[in-house]
């Protein structure tokens, strides 16, 4: 049960403030929260804070604070889940979640909050329910740019044959606005994997952990056929039957059904093996409750009726046993002259991806001993960059092709690190150096090997234009740590 809900910008300005139970006692609760947050001692967690009889529970999402207050000892899991669901909903409605979109759509956000929560209790968070009650349309700012022009083809018609969509394609409001009928029916499917790896100093693999998600963002009108033909009329009808008669009416129609085919060799658990050759194995899978799994056992097909907006269809985890080689290996060698305080680090980075793939935005982060003063560098490529900052070395590699090798030689002076006297050069790393960590993105690559084979939509016969379907595979690093 929530007493108040508010959204603060990263600087603490209140953007949205909603008091559900009227028990704020006349105090500025949002102000209180921000003061509490900024004055928090370092060893306490900011997730849950309290003041008087009020608990503040918040999440940070895209630079915003979404805060709920409660005076009860409630389940933290449910509340945190609710907050992140709210963040997703707001993102769906406003296009994306940011300070700008929120402040442009204040009315919409309040309307949404009114429907989602009543007297601090959750009513519903499902898009299907809410779309019947939300009248306000999202205000989207579309700054004019030449890039937009480039997507307009010859004679002003959009190129229907384009093979790639811009990455911002999915950040627009889910519900098509009344005025803009040209919105396409689109479905975006993401297979995103987060990779956490720990490699020992001798090169042996200590830990591999892959957290995967299949995320769906659907812009399909979920009422299917008729709805897309007469959007404006529908909305009038909806407001006429606002009292909820519409809702059962909607459910009588078969909705769009989506079938997602996964790699057939996909298997769950340690014992199961499917197909020939090395299967794609994960340890644990969980599905969203709306996913139908009749064909999963036999053909690895997920069926669902996609609600509008974002949905995590499937989550999976895999640890310790990766089918493909790790994307990166790092071969460091360290020379340390204790007498003069000169530290030389030679880093060789090998990318073990298939030659056609590449890694983007690779950044190596290497903590250094305290007191490093100067840095001289020799890098293998011109587009690379290395600098010192916050007691660490940062080496940026914007693009690394699969199968390539890169190297960097770094020399530093560490005068403030007096070692035991009488020792010359040594190859052991001084304490405080390392471990190195890498962050990167691997587009079109999944570490587990899971692929989406197909994505089919079964429309009702009277359905209009066939929707656009976009599928994306992506891996990125969560923590890729190499000890030195």
């Amino acid at each position: 049960m929530i007493s108040q809900f508010f959204i603060l910008s990263s600087k603490g300005d209140p953007l949205i403030y909603k008091d559900f139970r009227g028990d704020s006692g006349g105090r500025d609760v949002a102000e209180l929260f921000y003061r509490k947050l900024t004055g928090l001692p370092g060893d306490e967690s900011p997730v849950v804070m309290h003041h008087d009889d009020r608990h503040f529970i918040h999440i940070r999402h895209s630079g915003l604070y979404l805060v709920a207050t409660t005076s009860e000892n409630i389940s933290p899991f449910s509340l945190l889940e609710l907050l992140s669901r709210l963040a997703t909903l707001l993102g769906d409605y406003c296009g994306s979640l940011s300070e700008g979109t929120i402040s442009r759509n204040v009315a919409l956000v309040y309307e949404l909050l009114d429907e989602v929560l009543d007297y601090g209790y959750v009513q519903t968070t499902s898009m299907e329910m809410l779309r019947n009650f939300i009248q306000t349309e999202a205000v989207v700012s579309k700054p004019f740019s030449l890039f937009d022009l480039s997507s307009v083809g010859l004679f002003g018609a959009e190129t229907q044959q384009s093979k790639v969509a811009p990455s911002t394609a999915a950040s627009r409001p889910v519900l098509a606005s009344r005025s803009d009928q040209s919105q396409k029916n689109e479905v975006f499917l993401d297979v995103v994997e987060r990779l956490s790896v720990l490699i020992a100093s001798n090169g042996s693999l200590l830990k591999v952990d892959v957290q995967g998600e299949i995320r769906l963002k659907s812009f399909l009108p979920s009422g299917s056929g008729e709805k897309s033909q007469g959007g404006a009329w529908d909305r009038q009808l909806l407001s006429a039957v606002y009292g909820g008669i519409w809702q059962p009416f909607l459910t009588f129609f078969p909705l769009t059904e989506m079938r997602i085919g996964l790699t057939e060799e996909f298997c769950v658990g340690k014992s199961e093996l499917r197909g020939y050759g090395p299967g794609i194995r994960v340890d644990e899978v969980s599905f969203h409750s709306s996913v139908l799994l009749e064909e999963f056992e036999s053909h690895r097909i997920l069926r669902l009726q996609p609600p509008q907006g974002e949905l995590t269809v499937m989550r999976y985890q895999l640890s310790d046993d990766l089918p493909s080689p790790l994307p990166f290996r790092l071969f460091p060698s360290v020379q340390w002259d204790r007498g003069s305080g000169r530290l030389q680090v030679y880093l060789k980075l090998r990318c073990d991806l298939p030659p056609k793939s590449q890694a983007l935005n690779v950044r190596l982060h290497l903590p250094l001993p305290r007191g490093v003063v100067s840095l001289s560098q020799e890098l293998s490529g011109p587009e690379q960059k290395a600098e010192l900052g916050e007691g660490a070395l940062r080496w940026d590699l914007p693009r690394v092709q699969g199968g390539s090798q890169l190297s960097g030689l770094f020399q530093m002076d560490v005068p403030g690190l007096p070692g035991p006297p009488g020792q010359g050069h040594s190859t052991t790393a001084p304490l405080g150096l390392g471990p190195a960590s890498l962050s990167f993105e691997l587009p079109r690559h999944t570490c587990s090997g899971l692929q989406v084979r197909f994505l089919r939509l079964a429309f009702r016969p009277c359905g209009s234009t066939s929707p656009h379907k976009w599928v994306r595979h992506l891996s990125h690093s969560d923590a890729y740590v190499i000890r030195i």
Binding site: D53, R60, S75, F77, E81, S167, E294, H473
Partner: protein, 833 residues
């Protein structure tokens, strides 16, 4: 996170429906697949059977529900658990359907199909007695994802005889309802060929109540079950933990009175909860156990509830006290699927409920905690930092009771440098607690990496964690800590020295190593805590550290500029101790220090301590030795701390609340603060029933028990002002007076606390040891009758004089009150003596 990524990478066009890229080796042509599927016995073949089935098989109006419930379980319950399941054909009771009622459930067959497993059963008809045959595999089974009931539906249905008896049609409303409920688990009933319509109602009752298929049960072996009137077929063996015994008379047809029939409309969680509460408060429902249970079942398995509703219902169910073990396990079985929900809130809610319901069954609790391990670990590596933090706090909570629970997953708790501080700290704590012989090496390796972290706080936390592990794995840890001293960094050295001090006290075996490591670190310590620790170590173990006097001498030299009084105190004590074992080196500076402390020091505590030591020295060196040479270590303290393994029940009620997230100590401070603010009368708030006491059954129990204890019920929050008490006291006559044997003095606090427990308020009380000692107490019972009491303890008598006044002369309540009072006084007296 997601949006950021989206910005960079590009979308790729989906493969069309025609499947332009074939899957490895096989063509994904859908036509082929259909054929394939048709060849499988469980797929369309099953539906063919369904079509052939005679129309009177009315087992399920909504096949979809069964299928849905089936999906939400990933690994079907019991797949890997050796436990027997309760396998009772439970469906479609009621008058009309009695012929198809589940009595004939040939134990095994029904059991397996009930559990929703696909396993093509070997001999479906073999298990039953005489004429019992299997049949009636609900059509919903054909739809189960795993192909449940594959083969079974095909073979068995064909063998069904059609002499099901009269009265198959026209199922009573309750039959229908229970039937739809049964779908959720895909329970199959079996037909007994020879049942009679006359025994309908009872049979229906038994059928509906006879347990649900599910993994939770008490017993392991098949129990002999009494199976109602249909047991004329012979007693059937059913693998269940107890037989359902229901009253066979007074069963009334609850036509149409049940709220929320069939499918409950979506009302939002709060309304659902109200609905349940209303239903359970209904005396008719309460009187009838079957209805009572059905109401619960319907609410629990409400298919339409979203995750918020489910969490709310689970929270609500905490207040429900099952009346029997059997009912308890019924509920657990019904709720099992929630443990596998994809929403962490629901999983944790279910876990809490399980832990609390199964408080008398530790093995069930452990089992639940094993099951919840997966979801918790997933939450710990969740992308949402906040969720991750909450999960980590709960992991720590579990580790307090089951230290080895997460040991094999220690790698999941390694920190990554991009994580926020508070998560790292929690992870370090977790690592510290789950360490065992197998993973200690890796964990220490990892922790050592953290010690040089850029953040000083985090580095110090990691060092303290190593110190914690050192209590068990001393040698390895001391070695790591000694290496850290070589870094010569202030923030590291100070914490390492503090860790050494604590360690030496608990593990004397490491003293030698510590003493060798200490020289040289005084240069890198600037803060008060670190200095105190170092000085303490030098004082207590100075005889083993060659340069100890010289280090202390430096401190004495600089004592004037020392800002922390605590350091000066420590220095005094340490120097005096060292003087005892190395007098020659210390005598001079001890004199100087004492002189400074007595003559120049402005801090009173330091000056007094200096004076004290000076006078002590005047008393002679033997006296000083006697007082200062205490033991130098106390290994038993460490053992005591390790023994703090708490039972699950001690924190089960705190699970999935804010308590673990705040930490127990902070929570205690918060709630104390809140308690002081809100001592007002509690308003009956429907909204806050989560914490406002148990539901009807328990209250009911209390009122049943009450008559035995003298028909006295004292109201809790009876607050009288002292003035009112005084006025009333003087206006009333003494209704009862007696003496109570009493020895020694009274501890007012203890007594007051004890009286509070039985709802007797203390108005005024003398201090402890006062003569004569007096106390004035008041209490009020539920009828409004006031009891005013005076306790008087004369110093010379060894007895307590009790005088009770009552504003309404009623003897039986008075006697009740006096017996309560006597019990309390007797208990307190026993504790004292």
């Amino acid at each position: 996170m997601g949006s950021g990524l989206r910005d960079r990478a590009l979308w790729k066009v989906a493969l069309g429906a025609t499947g332009s890229r074939p899957g490895r080796g096989r063509s994904p042509c859908s036509g082929d697949r259909k054929k394939e599927a048709a060849a499988l016995p469980g797929g369309p073949a099953g539906s063919a059977n369904r079509a052939n089935r005679p129309p009177e098989r009315h087992s399920s109006p909504r096949a979809g529900a069964g299928a849905e419930a089936g999906h939400s379980k990933r690994a079907l319950p019991g797949a890997d658990r050796p436990k027997q399941r309760i396998s009772d054909g439970r469906r479609a009771p009621g008058r009309g359907s009695c012929a198809a009622a589940p009595r004939g459930a040939a134990g095994e067959g029904a059991g397996r199909s009930a559990s929703g497993r696909r396993s093509a059963l070997g001999a479906p008809a073999g298990g039953g007695g005489g004429g019992a045959r299997l049949g009636a595999v609900g059509p919903e089974e054909a739809g189960l994802p795993q192909g449940a009931g594959r083969g079974l539906s095909g073979r068995v249905a064909a063998r069904r005889r059609s002499d099901g008896g009269p009265g198959r049609e026209g199922a009573a409303p309750w039959g229908g309802e229970a039937g739809s409920g049964a779908e959720g688990l895909g329970v199959a009933g079996a037909v007994s060929g020879r049942s009679e319509p006359a025994c309908g109602p009872q049979e229906g009752t038994a059928g509906a109540g006879a347990g649900l298929a599910g993994p939770w049960s008490l017993g392991c072996g098949p129990g002999e079950a009494e199976a109602g009137p249909t047991s004329r077929l012979g007693a059937l063996r059913r693998p269940t933990f107890a037989s359902p015994r229901f009253p066979r008379q007074g069963w009334e047809e609850p036509a149409g009175t049940a709220p929320g029939r069939e499918t409950m409309p979506y009302l939002g969680s709060e309304d659902v909860v109200k609905e349940l509460k209303k239903a359970l408060c209904n005396p008719h429902v309460q009187a009838d156990r079957l209805r009572y249970r059905n109401v619960i079942q319907r609410v629990i398995r409400m298919p339409k509830l979203d995750q918020w509703g489910q969490a709310e219902v689970l929270n609500f169910l905490l207040r429900y006290q099952p009346r029997s073990e059997e009912e308890l396990f019924d509920i657990l079985n019904l709720l099992d699927s929630f443990l596998k929900s994809s929403s962490p809130g629901v999983v944790m809610g279910a876990t809490k409920l399980f832990l609390i319901l199964a408080k008398k069954f530790p093995h069930v609790q452990t089992d639940v905690l094993v099951q919840v391990k997966g979801p918790l670990l997933a939450a710990c590596s969740s992308e949402s930092r906040e969720l991750c933090f909450a999960a980590l706090c709960h992991v720590r909570q579990i580790l307090h009771s089951l230290p080895g629970h997460f040991s094999s997953h220690y790698k999941k708790f390694f920190c990554s440098y991009s994580e926020p501080h508070y998560i790292k700290l929690q992870k370090v704590e977790v690592l510290c607690e789950l360490v065992n012989d197998e993973n200690v090496q890796q964990v220490l390796e990892e922790l050592r990496g953290y010690c040089t972290d850029v953040s000083a706080d985090f580095a110090q936390a990691a060092i303290f964690a190593i110190g914690g592990i050192a209590r068990t794995y001393t040698d390895q840890c001391v070695q790591i800590l000694t290496e850290l001293l070589g870094l010569r960094q202030e923030h590291i050295t100070t914490v390492v020295v503090q860790t050494f001090r604590d360690l030496v006290w608990l593990c004397p075996q490491c003293t030698e190593a510590v003493c060798q490591a200490l020289p040289g670190c005084e240069e890198n310590i600037q803060d008060s805590e670190g200095k105190q620790a170092l000085i303490w170590l030098l004082g207590v173990h100075g005889e083993r550290i060659p340069n100890a006097p010289y280090v202390l001498e430096d401190f004495v030299e600089n004592v004037k500029s020392e800002t922390f009084p605590a350091v000066k105190m420590e220095l005094l004590t340490a120097l005096l101790r060292l003087f005892l074992c190395r007098p020659a080196e210390c005598q001079d500076m001890l004199g100087r220090l004492l002189h400074y402390c007595i003559e120049e020091e402005k801090d009173m505590a330091v000056r007094d301590r200096g004076l004290f030591y000076y006078r002590l020295l005047l008393a002679g060196i033997d006296e000083v030795k006697r007082i200062l040479c205490s033991p130098k270590s106390d290994p038993s303290l460490g053992l005591l701390e390790d023994q703090a393994e708490r039972p699950v029940n001690s924190w089960a009620s705190d699970f999935n609340t804010l308590v673990p997230v705040y930490g127990k100590a902070r929570w205690a401070a918060i709630s104390k603060y809140q308690g002081a603010e809100h001592r007002g009368p509690e308003l009956p708030n429907t909204a806050s029933f989560a914490s406002s006491g148990p539901l009807i059954p328990e209250e009911h129990k209390e009122t049943v028990q009450e008559p035995d204890s003298g028909a006295l019920m004292l109201v809790p929050n009876c607050q009288l002002t002292a003035e009112y008490f005084e006025k009333t006291w003087f206006s009333l006559k003494v209704a009862h007076q007696q003496v109570f044997p009493w020895k020694g003095a009274v501890h007012p606090d203890t007594l007051q606390m004890a009286l509070q427990v039985v709802n007797i308020q203390t108005i005024a009380m003398s201090r402890a040891g006062a003569h004569p000692w007096k106390a004035y107490l008041s209490a009020q019972d539920d009828t409004g009758c006031l009891f005013l009491t005076e306790l008087l303890l004369e110093p010379e008598n060894s007895e307590m004089q009790i005088s009770v006044k009552q504003n309404e002369p009623r003897t039986e309540t008075l006697n009740g009150f006096i017996s309560v009072l006597e019990t309390v006084l007797g208990t307190i007296g026993d504790i004292k003596s």
